[in-house]
Symmetry: C2
Subunit: 357 residues, 2 copies
């Protein structure tokens, strides 16, 4: 075990002071991300419709965390279906599954997790909760393990003494535990391999300012926030070695949907010779889509743009367009880090070689 | 007079419902832009230090408006110097002039206006206020006239039925009256030549959401706001014909300093074949600088990024980098519209041919 791996485990222990998604006392407990960083409050959810609502309202967000929450949501759906219909639970559960699957459209992990949970249905005898809870816990544990693997691989790919820039929150709050993009940053920081960590504030929801700054500072990693539109100026004047982001869905050719602004960041990175790294587990790949053209991009309420920090800011009568994801063409990506290996200069063949398909 | 010109004048009359900068009853009256759009309140300033403070604090902002406000500030400085020192006013005024010139570093119009006002000093006999007020009014009137000229030229350059995107506020609030970038948009709208007007919200100060939306909606021009980082996705998915922005300082080779985010927008525009137009009067050119490398870029308080409306939005302990301008290389600009003519594909020779030098 090399020095970097030791540090990854230490750092992992250090940041266990919160769990964004946790099964506890027969219910799903979520750290309510709408209230951070001002308030650290947990929601306790006992029904699948409540889980769907929490996903829709972004009490939990981040593609892997959404998938994990949905898996636990299936457990709650099965409990209710068993109570209502006994051995007819497999039919009775369908409405809740459809509800969960429709909670948000872009992150494929949501439907991936439901599909994987459904794959257990046929083998279950009698009351389904225990078997399905074991499967949901497996999804959760595997995601955490994948995070650690990606963190090691990604940190190893970075140049020494790197200045990095991240967007949105692809951290412990967005995953089963350690983070994708922030897992790489945590591991690189633990190795002493980072010169600076810049974080885009990430309008309109301010995931960077509210969530990424919160969780990295909690781990003792200094961060400097900036307005999203300052990123190109940062690259031009201060020097950035690598942009590191997560992903919500990756098509078979490597085109990557991620938080709105990622594409503009990738264009700027390319113009400045800055490396562009995407960090995402296998569950984020959607090999049924040839390219990013077919990824559905969620548009959310205009109020998210017209308000700031919960208060109205825009001129009365103004409308807003609020797409919350965009698609970065594979050609702008230098490497996709997965738990199955690195995909450098991604294209369909290289994605297939690592992810299968 | 063609149809477009008629409409420009009508539209001009329509938007005279506010004056961002006005000399009234022996004092400088400023519409306090920090309070818009929630409150429409005017400041009445009777001393040059108060004008310098208002410029520094962004009660008035926008390069041409800053220049005009500073010109009126020189009038107030001269009044005070005459009261203190009589015929020794030319020496007594210097501290106030230095104070005004230092209020903000990037917009060259500020120092341009002070220099032009200073150019009148030697010819003045006795009490200086009347002669300097006439000069300040001339600066103001010429800026308004330049706005109308640029609006016609710029609107004529746009393709028919154009979808346009603007950043920050280069409107009536930022100039002597009609606006630079927004003057072009007003004139094109009046000609029925616009399909859509998109406006970046423009973090951190939200000039787009607060000011541009406010003044365009007041003129009956529909606007759609978006998060700054959504601009590339807008270009990729909805189609934009032209980005139209103002400028704070333009070097001799056409490199243009403007609101932070302009450079990233120009990179995105070039990647999508979207035209990029800068609209700025001659007073914004600084021919003493060979290139944009030498333009001082103001960094403001991190609190503008970390807080909003007096409330913290970022995680406690986070720091922020807050450069409020950036420099767009001339090579990314398709046309600079000035009152002296269009500068297409700007470079040093083409700038010199139109602006002199």
């Amino acid at each position: 075990m090399n020095r970097g791996e030791v540090h990854v485990e230490q750092s992992s222990a250090a940041q266990e002071s919160f769990r964004a998604v946790e099964w506890r006392d027969g219910a799903l407990q979520l750290l309510d991300q709408r209230l951070l960083p001002q308030r650290e409050e947990y929601l306790t959810l006992k029904t699948a419709p409540d889980v769907a609502q929490a996903i829709h309202d972004m009490a939990v967000r981040g593609a892997p965390a959404i998938g994990i929450a949905a898996a636990y949501g299936v457990v709650l759906a099965a409990r209710a279906a068993w109570q209502r219909a006994g051995n007819g639970w497999r039919e009775a559960i369908e409405a809740d599954l459809a509800h969960l699957a429709a909670a948000r459209p872009t992150a494929v992990n949501l439907r991936w997790a439901i599909k994987r949970m459904r794959g257990r249905f046929n083998a279950i005898q009698g009351e389904p909760e225990a078997a399905l809870l074991a499967e949901a816990r497996a999804i959760h544990d595997e995601d955490r393990a994948a995070n650690f693997k990606m963190a090691r691989l990604g940190a190893g790919w970075l140049p020494p003494d790197a200045a990095v820039l991240t967007h949105c929150n692809a951290g412990a709050l967005a995953t089963g535990g350690y983070g994708t993009a922030l897992g790489v940053i945590r591991a690189a920081h633990a190795r002493g391999a980072l010169k600076a960590v810049y974080v885009n504030e990430t309008r309109p929801w301010l995931q960077g300012a509210r969530l990424t700054a919160w969780e990295l500072l909690r781990d003792g990693i200094p961060v400097t926030l900036l307005a999203d539109a300052a990123a190109a100026h940062l690259m031009a004047t201060r020097g950035i070695d690598c942009v590191i982001v997560g992903a919500d869905r990756i098509a078979a050719n490597g085109d990557t949907a991620n938080k709105i602004g990622t594409y503009m960041l990738a264009l700027s990175a390319r113009a400045h010779g800055v490396k562009f790294m995407v960090v995402a587990p296998g569950s984020t790949f959607d090999l049924s889509l040839d390219s990013g053209r077919d990824i559905p991009v969620e548009a959310r309420d205009a109020a998210e743009v017209l308000r700031h920090g919960g208060r109205p800011v825009a001129a009365a009568g103004a409308t807003a367009w609020n797409p919350v994801f965009d698609v970065t063409p594979a050609g702008l990506i230098d490497v996709i880090v997965t738990e199955k290996g690195l995909i450098e200069r991604p294209d369909a063949a290289r994605v297939a070689a690592v992810i299968g398909g």
